[in-house]
Symmetry: C2
Subunit: 294 residues, 2 copies
């Protein structure tokens, strides 16, 4: 699959050829013949905040520092005004230690767990809904032409998506340009890596769109809102609570985006209907995210 | 989609028409026209073991008692020799209390969390790998004809799978017969509901096959092995660690099952090659799990 170099390329795009991310494994196929398959790696990464062990995440292992920063940020353990004094990744020990100027202790928060649903359920410490209090999302415009452009660009980007269902991706976008495309076996890792990149670079959220694979669950909506991003879009469907929360926080929620079609179940007031639908291709019959050579 | 009544029907099959599981939500489509959509419900369910709060699971809410029993069993908090003295579901409080004859306390275990990957990541308390020590899986045979029969039957069963990516399903099978088909927004919930059903009914695991949607991650392999089920199969792909663990515990791992094809990356010694491949249909072009009327 040739890489299409756009005038505005991705800042971070998947690197399907990165050797560390996959491994060839041998087995047999349906005829009993030997079959060699490229499968995605999955490694444990233990995240520490100032000496306190927080969680062990299973990840493909491409951006451990971003994953740690983003996880802590999205869990509300790393605050907006925190000064990060260090991020130390030890490849051998499979650990990342994030250090802040502020002394931290999250014993109580770590006790209350919510196992969430959705494709790539994460561990959400503390009260899920607490973090949403006081969240306001900006009244920015969302042009429908951007949605179609993003879909098209993202869908033709070579990814680690080697086999159906092996990987989830989430892409941080601005207007019609995909910027940071992260993948992982767990979707919440992909989102956290984006959040970590934003912490590291200081990149703002109010002018962004988050595009994701997989369904728009309550946890995805909460994460997106807490990251300050006003628009969340996916090819997939919704859950009722995801829609409810989106409406509560004023997030624009776009799902079932395929070909010319989409459904907006929240925040439609941001939409600017500028797309010329006749120029948007219908969905290909066997449409899938394009994969790298297997 | 008409229901096909087989001589050997499911013991439990999805009930896509159950009103409590979905809700109609209104929004707009790509033309700005009003669009009414049926979306899946997602509710919190807090699970207690003998008065101790363990976790809150986000679930579609169809089998709360099985979910609680199975979750606790799969986390190693409910032991094989435990006597369950009560399972109390309170629909209003959205809680389930599981009571055992044995006094329990899991403070320490609850502190160590692993956020796992995969589609429907669960919360895995304690050391993931610890539970696998001493697990032995039986040397049963697995006829390839069973795999094709199961695929065919499961794929034509009406399910809650209203929109692509909205729901995950896992099916407990015996030989060529699907028995218990559970779905949920989180795949690990679906697996736990099956485990809970097995606790409740006393149904054995050694003669079973677990068929699942989504990828064969380390967590799915561990859960299956700890449930004592020797075979795990999916349409989707593998992760390297999932394969490694399967080989360690001697589990038969079958992935990428589509049409006539599949790949076995572990436990191929159980396979009995009795299928007549010429009688197995090729995969339909736009094959998807058949959904109920939208």
């Amino acid at each position: 699959m040739p890489t299409v170099h756009e005038a505005n390329d991705f800042i971070i795009a998947p690197d399907p050829a990165a050797p560390r991310l996959t491994r060839v494994v041998e087995g047999v196929d349906q005829t009993g013949a030997t079959s060699a398959l490229s499968v995605v790696e999955e490694r444990p990464l233990t995240i520490y905040l100032n000496g306190q062990e927080i969680v062990t995440a299973m990840t493909i292992g491409d951006y451990p520092e971003y994953l740690a920063l983003g996880f802590l940020k999205n869990q509300g353990m790393l605050l907006a005004d925190d000064t990060v004094t260090g991020v130390e990744y030890d490849e051998e020990l499979e650990t990342v230690v994030v250090r802040t100027a502020r002394k931290t202790s999250y014993e109580e928060k770590l006790k209350k767990k919510t196992r969430t649903s959705g494709c790539a359920v994460g561990t959400v410490f503390g009260d899920m809904m607490e973090g949403l209090e006081g969240v306001t999302l900006p009244a920015v415009e969302l042009r429908t032409s951007w949605l179609y452009a993003l879909s098209a660009r993202i869908n033709r980007t070579p990814s680690l998506y080697l086999e159906a269902g092996a990987i989830h991706g989430t892409v941080l976008c601005r207007q019609d340009r995909p910027l940071v495309y992260m993948e992982d076996v767990g979707r919440h890792n992909a989102v956290d890596k984006i959040a970590g990149w934003m912490v590291q670079t200081g990149e703002g959220a109010t002018d962004k769109i988050l595009y994701t694979t997989g369904r728009l669950t309550s946890e995805m909506v909460i994460k997106t809102a807490m990251m300050g991003i006003p628009v969340l879009a996916s090819r997939s469907g919704f859950t009722a609570w995801g829609v409810e929360i989106a409406r509560q926080v004023g997030l624009t929620l776009i799902g079932r985006m395929r070909g010319q079609r989409f459904v907006c179940l929240s925040g439609a007031e941001r939409l600017v209907w500028d797309a010329d639908l006749s120029s948007v291709p219908e969905e290909e019959r066997k449409h899938r995210r394009k994969s790298a050579a297997e």
